[in-house]
């Protein structure tokens, strides 16, 4: 029997790990991820969740432990945030280079200094080149569903890459929402046990991660790129299959809302994408033809879908909860890069909003949309990156 629970996204993450029958968990506590590792501990110690739970001494060790466990052939899991993720950086590369299907929720939190525990995407965005697949979620149901989908995706022999499931600090991590948790037997049917093709096996001894000369290194990297391209095909397929099994779909690579006839499309990620939908409804009442495209998967970046969206619209307004210093918001950068060489490009305006956990509500998004539509009317973007609500 499926059941509806009302709980925080962090607790939902713990239930998803249990539902995925994860075999080894290695984790280190960091605010605001802590209620994930605490709830897992309760599930393990009450006997409800049969897994090896290793409380390691750092995030670098958490990822390294997952690498060892995944290489030894079992389904692995960890979760982190902010500084913990950045400390893992080296091991993130090792995990993807080793082609290990590790799944890791990341509670998106600001990087210091100064110390700030609130929402910001710079932590995971600065890991975008590590070879990890990245999902960004907009509600607690999507968090649960995406964790299950992620194992299905990354254990596919054509993929074999680790996956980050990103959820914003507090806005999701500590907010109670109703979530439907499907029947375990149905989940087991959707996600069968992990059967790796190769692992650390005394009967078939292989040396993993040994020296690779320039003669071979590029080919291994090319295979990662190929897997990323394949993931772009599989993610929507798996999302659809999940929807058929359990009733929820989340948009595949991009969740589009009223984009078909939109002159202006708002591009955002995570919960700002949810706010954008409300803004779209309000603005349409005022006669503005606006749509919203929530980028659910940032790696692999859905270039082709972005191009399709661009074909039938006049303008993109892109909202980033993060900045690549010296350039643009991350999503703005990637979107612009995707459209180069395309005919009839839309106008593009970038907006930096909500850094360090500052609220971005539908009202903020409406303001952004109105500013953008003014520029759309004059066919000129006056400022490429606008810092929203900045004290000047």
């Amino acid at each position: 029997m499926s059941q509806t629970v009302i709980d925080t996204a962090n607790h939902i993450v713990a239930y998803a790990a249990k539902a995925a029958r994860v075999q080894v968990i290695a984790a280190y506590p960091i605010t605001p991820q802590t209620s994930i590792v605490e709830r897992i501990a309760e599930l393990v110690e009450s006997g409800e969740f049969d897994t090896e739970y290793i409380r390691v001494e750092s995030e670098h060790s958490a990822m390294s432990t997952c690498i060892g466990a995944a290489a030894a052939g079992v389904r692995t899991f960890t979760a982190t945030a902010a500084h913990g993720l950045v400390l893992m950086h080296e091991a993130l590369h090792w995990a993807s280079g080793s082609r290990l299907p590790i799944v890791m929720p990341v509670v998106n939190r600001t990087l210091g200094p100064g110390w700030n525990i609130w929402a910001d995407l710079t932590d995971s965005m600065s890991q975008r080149d590590t070879g990890w697949i990245q999902f960004y979620c907009a509600d607690n149901q999507e968090v649960f569903d995406t964790i299950i989908q992620a194992y299905k995706l990354c254990e596919n022999e054509q993929i074999l890459l680790p996956v980050m499931i990103c959820l914003e600090a507090f806005i999701l991590s500590h907010t109670y929402m109703p979530v439907e948790i499907p029947d375990q037997k149905k989940i087991d049917g959707f996600l069968p046990p992990y059967k790796p093709k190769w692992f650390l096996d005394v009967d078939n001894p292989l040396t993993h991660g040994n020296i690779v000369s320039p003669k071979w290194y590029m080919e291994f990297r090319y295979m990662i790129q190929e897997a990323m391209e394949t993931a772009k095909q599989l993610i929507p397929e798996i999302d659809k299959e999940f929807g058929e099994c359990f009733g929820f779909e989340h948009g595949g690579l991009i969740e589009k809302y009223k984009c078909e006839d939109a002159d202006l499309i708002l591009l955002a990620m995570g919960t700002i994408g949810s706010e954008a939908k409300i803004a779209v409804d309000n603005l349409r009442k005022e006669g503005l033809r606006v749509g919203s495209a929530r980028i659910r998967v940032f790696r692999p970046f859905p270039k082709e879908e972005i191009r399709k969206l661009a074909e039938n619209t006049q303008m993109f307004a892109i909202i980033d909860r993060g900045i690549s210093f010296g350039m643009d918001g991350f999503l703005a950068e990637e979107t612009k890069a995707s459209l180069y060489n395309q005919k009839d490009q839309p106008l593009i305006a970038g907006f930096i909003a909500g850094l360090g956990g500052r609220d971005v509500t539908f009202k903020t998004v409406e303001k952004i949309a109105k500013k953008s539509s003014e520029w759309m009317r004059t066919d000129r973007v006056e400022k490429e990156a606008v810092w929203v609500d900045l004290r000047e």
Binding site: V24, A72, T76, N210
Partner: protein
């Protein structure tokens, strides 16, 4: 306890590896497999052992090996051990096999964490007293006075006491060894295999490239280290300290060779003054006073 005649003829470090001539590590790896056979999973961080098996698509290891980040041996081994438990594999020994830099310096945190979590594995630190793989730079294991490329006039500080740091974790088994005493090393590995929990073996491995001695003298260099008492063979088993042969016969200073005999054979100690040598001799004698005391009572 095995004798030399009972050792397996099987080799799991295959021919074709690219270790330096006279490499003490290559000898040590052969001994590791003589002791444990091939039901072993090795976790190897960045070190000479990740280089000498050769490059893809070849390897000279005939056991499964996970190469790993420099600082992560203890953590990675923890993951392998947990996965084997989940897969219900009971007859495989997990061995972390790391150099002194990967143990004393960058890897000490992950090792300490694994030991504190009572991870069931054997950790061998093969110690050639410098970052050998990168061209002989100083590590926390480099002894006082030794030349390295980053201490061109000799290191000014003493070596960490790693086995006692590990003993302070209250793990069930800590031992020192040296490939110049192969039966002692093999027996310690066999004993470690039978004990549950974290086992730490600190192996002094002479390195002709880094220590600057003739490549034919590796075994002799290890013997001199023990005979002079600069390296001591002992075990700390559940807090009980015990000297092993031949170190157990060297408590009396008169039985030990002067450290000078060991130091003057190595180019890395060329800059030592007579005063330095006297100082090192005094430190060694002080260590031995401590061993004498420890041999008669629990040490942790």
């Amino acid at each position: 306890m095995v004798s030399i005649k009972e050792l397996s003829q099987e080799e799991y470090l295959l021919k074709g590896h690219i270790a330096c001539a006279g490499c003490g590590l290559a000898i040590s790896l052969r001994l590791l497999f003589k002791a444990l056979g091939n039901k072993v999973i090795l976790v190897v961080p960045a070190c000479c052992s990740s280089v000498i098996p050769g490059s893809y698509p070849f390897t000279s290891f005939a056991v499964p090996v996970q190469n790993m980040l420099f600082e992560a041996t203890g953590a990675t081994a923890s993951g392998v051990v947990a996965a084997l438990r989940q897969r219900d594999v009971k007859d495989v020994t997990v061995v972390g096999w790391a150099g002194d830099g990967g143990t004393f310096d960058i890897g000490i945190q992950a090792l300490s964490g694994a030991a504190e979590r009572e991870t069931d594995f054997i950790y061998v630190c093969y110690d050639n007293e410098a970052y050998g793989n990168t061209g002989v730079q100083r590590s926390g294991a480099t002894p006082y006075g030794a030349w390295t490329t980053t201490t061109p006039t000799g290191k000014k500080e003493r070596k960490k006491n790693m086995p006692f740091i590990m003993a302070a974790h209250r793990i069930p088994y800590v031992a020192t060894a040296c490939p110049s005493y192969p039966i002692d090393f093999i027996n310690k590995l066999k004993k470690a295999k039978e004990i549950k929990g974290t086992k730490f073996i600190h192996l002094l491995v002479p390195c002709s490239t880094g220590w600057r001695y003739d490549t034919s003298k590796t075994v002799e260099m290890g013997r001199l280290a023990v005979q002079t008492g600069i390296w001591t063979l002992f075990e700390i088993e559940y807090s009980t300290f015990k000297l092993n042969p031949p170190s157990d016969r060297l408590i009396d200073k008169a039985k030990r060779k002067p450290v000078k005999e060991y130091l003057t054979l190595q180019g890395r100690f060329r800059n030592l003054t007579e005063g330095d040598i006297e100082k090192i001799q005094r430190w060694v004698d002080e260590d031995w006073e401590r061993y004498r005391e420890l041999a008669s009572r629990p040490c942790v």
